[in-house]
Structures are given as structure tokens and as C-alpha cells.
């Protein structure tokens, strides 16, 4: 059964809770959508809208990405990533390590 996507209000709660768990209080930013006149930092409602879009876009796209099955492997068993190449922080450098 498909998971019901979260509403804006649910995402706002999740975002605030996640940030709070890291010790970040979004209320440091000005209320509403107007930017802070001193620093140009955006209002918290504008930031929340941008963060909701980020969660629905980037977080969802990355989380749902399925790596292709390695050549010669059974796709049914390759759905898990346990035998995929190890993730690399620095792909270009890794070319030298793998020579």
C-alpha cells in the first residue's frame, strides 16, 4: 500500500523537530516571510516553504533511487545494496586507488 505523502503542516512539524533535535531554533529568524532588514536572512515562513520543497524533492529523490543491479547478478538479490561498490566521497581520487 502506498504511503500517504505528508501534508505541509506535518512537514513543518518534522522540519522543526529535526532542526530542534540538532539544537537549531528556526525562531532565530524573523517571523513571516519578510527578510531581516539587518542581515537579509529570510523570514522563517519563507525558509519553511523552501525546506518543505527540499524534503519533497531532493530527500525523496535520493531516498528512492535504486542502484542498477551489477552485471551478472540477480536483480532480485541486488535490490539490496549489500554487494554494490562501496560509496566514494571522492570519485576522481578513487580512480587512482583502483588502478
Amino acid at each position: 500500500m502506498a504511503v500517504t505523502p505528508p501534508t505541509d503542516a506535518e512537514l513543518n512539524t518534522m522540519i522543526r523537530a529535526r532542526l530542534a533535535s540538532l539544537g537549531i531554533d528556526l525562531d532565530q529568524l524573523p517571523a513571516g516571510t519578510a527578510a531581516d532588514p539587518e542581515t537579509g536572512s529570510p523570514g522563517r515562513d519563507s525558509v519553511l516553504a523552501s525546506l518543505r520543497s527540499f524534503v519533497r524533492g531532493s530527500v525523496t529523490a535520493l531516498a528512492s533511487f535504486q542502484m542498477p543491479a551489477p552485471s551478472g547478478s540477480d536483480p532480485a538479490h541486488a535490490a539490496a545494496l549489500s554487494q554494490q561498490p562501496a560509496p566514494m566521497l571522492y570519485p576522481s581520487i578513487s580512480t587512482e586507488w583502483r588502478r
Binding site: L19, A35, S46, V59, S92
Partner: protein, 542 residues
């Protein structure tokens, strides 16, 4: 120290209401550590371990100047100025004075620098004049992007968070350039924390494109904007930038320069304020391929303070690679090179003319190459955003105490804090998959490949070079980008050097702005050049 001291309403750097407690605590810790000696620093953060050996530069690094350049020292390329200095025809002091004169005359319009080290540069020029030139950078005045630590000189990354930060040592690339004899003229304006085009931290536009100083709307390229404008307007001979999402190649393309983003690890990042530690690449913005080769030769090399620089192939002879080869008076390829052309690249007459010019050089072959599988997905915005936790993690103390201190750039840092570890690791797997497809499906068929965006090769850490190929109808430079295989900066330079031997785009310079004194004063104190909002920064974020 002399500085330009831009007024507070332009730099935004003296806003007092921002909570800077975390910053002051860190500064105090660094000051105390400096007083106690270098051993008090974490090993990975210390630049004191660099050996200080100056690389070898061949005779090709010295180029007899064009006649028109001899009349104006600021028109000399680095290679030409090096020839003049080596042959006793130009004194470093004269060269520094010439650049300082242009800064005095024009930087109120361009606003390329946030700190000008006039007295220090002159003193350095006088001191170095007593030594025998040992490198083509001997006595060459450079502009340094303000996210490179400079010993004893304020290093802000154009941010409230670092507005009073004075590093205790030079970033390794700065130390290497200085060891080669280069002179630091000043620190350049940049996108706040390297996120976008140069603005004040609160988004007010500062630096303009040197080609359209009266039109702030013309994109000067970000985030190494100030360096690009300073070099394009002949206020510095060459300069440094950093690239995370196009910040060397984009301003180079926008301002008729040759900018070289090397392979990840070629240049140490020790002492550079990070944006994304897997993606930040230090490199030069220069006037042509030869100058870019000289700069990168000085900047590159293993550094025990940065493990990313270790265990890599040796740096090839970049200066030889950037020296065009002629046969019977005609330029030919230094080595046979297959130039890959991606679908849709030749969509403009400028690009078509560029490809035709390359095709006419003996030894170059144009080859159609496909986009690798899932190219749009793996290089698109969502997967590109996997870099964002690298932004938030090192800045957590500031995120907890000083959100407004990030100014217009804060949203990217908060986005990074929302990306979970699962997604982050998936993104790392996807990068490796993308690299293998680029190597298998593109570089099996060609040696270099034209780029339609700098981002894919930034994701992968592969080398890229941006260079001029024409002008728009409005008189604004048009550039393009070539990408290369890992550690093949020399191949990129050899192609661009040949192209620049048969074209003259890279020799064109913008006209000097007309600056009545009163207008200049007004620009410095009251002009509102427009501003970027936080939403603009998210859209343009690098």
C-alpha cells in the same frame, strides 16, 4: 595595512546586532593556540607541514611580450611579465605600482577587492627585487579570493561569521604562490560563503562584470567574482578562485578569462574556508592557458595537511602543455586529441564556430559522444544537493547560535541539516556510478569533452577549463568549458593553448570605466546596486 574600507552599508560588515559569540569564542581559541605555538592546532588544520619546495618551471614559462603590452605593464600576461622581470626590463615595484594605480582609479566602480594590501605589496616588491628570479611568479601581483586564509590579513569569506577573522597562517596554495615569489595585492569580493555572485552578506550587489561596469544586471559569474573582475579589468595579473558548482569556470566565461578547475586533490584545501569538502576545488583565474598553467604549477602538490592531495599521480608539465606547437608556421595539436561533443552542444553559432576552429587544427578530431545513462537524473539538482550536509556539519555551532549570521545564504545550510544519512550515502554511491559511466561511455570515445554545465564534473572532481570563444551581440564575453579525465589538466591546457594560438578572443580587454570623481564617491557611499534575496541565492546556489 591599507584597506579599501568599503562603507558599512555596502559591505554589511559592521552590523552590530548579529550574535557573534560563537565566532569570538573561536577567534579567542585560535589566538590562544597561535600564542602557544603551532602544536596547539589540530594536525589536519595546520598548514605548517607543507615542505615549501618550489616546483620547477621550464623556459616555456617566459614569453617575450607583445609590443602593445610593453607600453602598459598591466597588459602583460604573467608569462610576459616574467620574461620582462627575468631580463631586467621591468622591476616588480613598477609592476605593483601600475596595478595599484588602476585599483585606485577604478575599484570604486568595480568593487572587486574588499582589502587592498598596497603598502605590503610595495614592501614585498622591494624585498623581492633584491633576489634573483627563481620562478615566473617572481614579483607578480595576484588577487586572492577572500576564502583563502592569509596570515595576518582579514579573511572573511564575505560573511558575517568571519568578518573579523585574521588567520594565523596562509592557506597552503597562498603559501606556495608566495614561495614562488608572487605578491598578494589584496583579497577579493566573493559570493557570501562562496554561494553565489559577489554581494554583501545581506545580498546587496557589490562587484560588477568588468565588461559592463554600468550595468549591475550583467552576471559577472560567481562565486569567485572579485578575482575575475580584478583580473579582467587589469587590476591584478592573475588570481585564485575556488569552485564547488562552477565558481571558477563561470566567472571566467563571463569575463573573458581562462579558468582552470583542477582534479580534486591537485591543490590543497588546507586553510580555505569550506563550502563542500568533497566538491571545493582551488584553482586559478588567468588571462590565457599559459598563465593558468603557471599558476596551477605553483599552487598544486602534495600537502600533508590535506589527505586529498596524497597518493595522486605527479603533476604533468603543465607549462609545456600550454605552449602551442607550430609546424611550417601552422599551429597543430601537441598530441592527437579526440574532442567529444555532447548532444545539443552546438546549439549556437558561437559554439559552432568554436568547434569549426578546433576541427581545423591538425591533430584534433571532433567525436560525437552520448550523454551517459541517467545523466539528467544523476547530475540534476536533487542529486547535486547531496553536497549540502557538508555545508551544515562544519557550521553547526553557528547554526545553533547565529542563524542570521549566514545572511541571505542561510537556507542551503538548513537544507543540509535535513538530509538524512541514508540519502547521503545513496548520493555517494550515485556519484561513483556516474563517474564509471562517464569513464566508460564518454572517455572511451574521446580525450576531452565539451560541457554544457560545470556541475557534473564538479560532482565527480574531474578537471575542467573555461575559456573565451566570442562575444554576444551586447558585447559581453561568451566562453565555454572543456572537461577532462582524472589528472589530465595537461590535455585540457594543450587544447586551449592551440585554440588560443589561432584566435584572439583572450587578448581582448574591456574599456576602462568613465569615473568622474564625484560619481565614484557616490558609488562608494550611497549607491544601491540592487540585491539578491535568499530565494535568489537558493536558485543560484553553488
Amino acid at each position: 595595512m591599507t584597506t579599501t574600507n568599503l562603507p558599512a552599508e555596502q559591505t554589511g560588515q559592521s552590523v552590530k546586532a548579529v550574535n557573534r559569540r560563537a565566532f569570538l569564542l573561536q577567534t579567542a581559541a585560535i589566538t590562544a593556540a597561535a600564542a602557544a605555538g603551532a602544536a596547539a592546532f589540530p594536525a589536519a588544520a595546520s598548514a605548517s607541514t607543507w615542505s615549501g619546495k618550489t616546483p620547477k618551471f621550464g623556459s616555456d614559462a617566459y614569453v617575450k611580450p607583445r609590443p602593445e603590452a610593453i607600453a602598459d605593464p598591466t597588459e602583460l600576461t604573467v608569462a610576459e611579465a616574467a620574461w620582462m622581470i627575468k631580463n631586467g626590463k621591468l622591476k616588480p615595484v613598477v609592476l605593483v605600482e601600475a596595478y595599484l594605480a588602476r585599483i585606485t582609479a577604478y575599484d570604486s566602480v568595480y568593487q572587486a577587492f574588499n582589502t587592498v594590501l598596497g603598502e605590503e605589496a610595495l614592501a614585498a616588491a622591494k624585498a623581492i627585487a633584491k633576489k634573483k628570479p627563481a620562478s615566473p611568479l617572481h614579483g607578480i601581483p595576484l588577487a586572492i579570493k577572500d576564502n583563502y586564509w592569509t596570515k595576518g590579513v582579514r579573511t572573511t569569506a564575505n560573511s558575517y561569521l568571519f568578518q573579523d577573522f585574521v588567520p594565523p597562517y596562509d592557506a597552503t596554495p597562498v603559501a606556495r604562490l608566495k614561495a614562488a615569489g608572487a605578491i598578494v595585492l589584496g583579497k577579493t569580493q566573493m559570493g557570501p560563503l562562496a554561494t553565489t555572485r559577489a554581494t554583501s552578506p545581506d545580498g546587496r550587489i557589490t562587484t560588477v562584470n568588468a565588461w559592463t561596469p554600468g550595468n549591475v544586471a550583467t552576471d559577472p559569474g560567481g562565486s569567485s567574482t572579485g578575482t575575475a573582475t580584478s583580473v579582467a579589468s587589469r587590476m591584478a595579473a592573475s588570481g585564485t578562485g575556488t569552485q564547488t558548482g562552477g565558481s571558477i569556470t563561470a566567472p571566467s566565461n563571463a569575463q573573458n578569462l581562462t579558468g582552470l578547475k583542477p582534479t580534486m586533490g591537485r591543490v590543497s584545501l588546507a586553510g580555505i574556508i569550506p563550502l563542500s569538502y568533497t566538491r571545493d576545488h582551488p584553482g586559478p583565474l588567468a588571462r590565457d592557458a599559459k598563465d593558468a598553467a603557471i599558476m596551477l604549477t605553483a599552487m598544486a602538490g602534495e600537502d600533508s595537511a590535506d589527505p586529498r592531495t596524497q597518493g595522486l599521480p605527479p603533476l604533468p608539465d603543465l607549462i609545456a602543455a600550454a605552449t602551442p606547437v607550430f609546424s611550417k608556421g601552422k599551429c597543430r595539436a601537441r598530441r592527437r586529441t579526440r574532442i567529444g561533443v555532447l548532444p545539443g552542444y552546438a546549439s549556437t553559432t558561437t559554439r559552432q564556430a568554436f568547434l569549426a576552429k578546433l576541427d581545423g587544427i591538425d591533430g584534433f578530431e571532433l567525436v560525437d559522444v552520448p550523454f551517459p545513462d541517467q545523466w539528467d537524473l544523476l547530475t540534476g539538482n536533487e542529486f547535486n544537493n547531496v553536497r549540502l550536509p557538508e555545508r551544515s556539519e562544519p557550521f553547526m555551532p553557528y547554526l545553533r547560535s547565529d542563524l542570521r549570521g549566514f545572511g541571505v545564504s542561510v537556507t542551503g545550510w538548513l537544507q543540509g541539516a535535513l538530509l538524512g544519512a541514508n540519502e547521503f550515502i545513496t548520493g555517494q554511491r550515485a556519484k561513483l556510478l556516474l563517474l564509471e559511466r562517464v569513464l566508460d561511455q564518454v572517455f572511451e570515445k574521446c580525450d576531452v569533452v565539451v560541457q554544457t554545465s560545470p556541475v557534473p564534473f564538479d560532482i565527480l572532481g574531474l578537471p575542467e577549463i573555461g575559456f573565451p570563444i566570442g562575444f554576444s551581440a551586447a558585447g559581453v564575453p561568451v566562453g565555454t568549458i572543456l572537461g577532462g579525465a582524472p589528472y589530465e589538466e595537461d590535455t585540457l591546457l594543450s587544447v586551449v593553448a592551440a585554440y588560443q594560438a589561432v584566435t584572439d578572443w583572450h587578448w581582448k580587454r574591456p574599456a576602462d570605466p568613465v569615473v568622474p570623481a564625484a560619481a565614484a564617491r557616490a558609488l562608494k557611499t550611497t549607491a544601491d546596486r540592487g540585491r539578491l534575496t535568499a530565494d535568489d541565492v537558493v536558485d543560484q546556489m553553488q
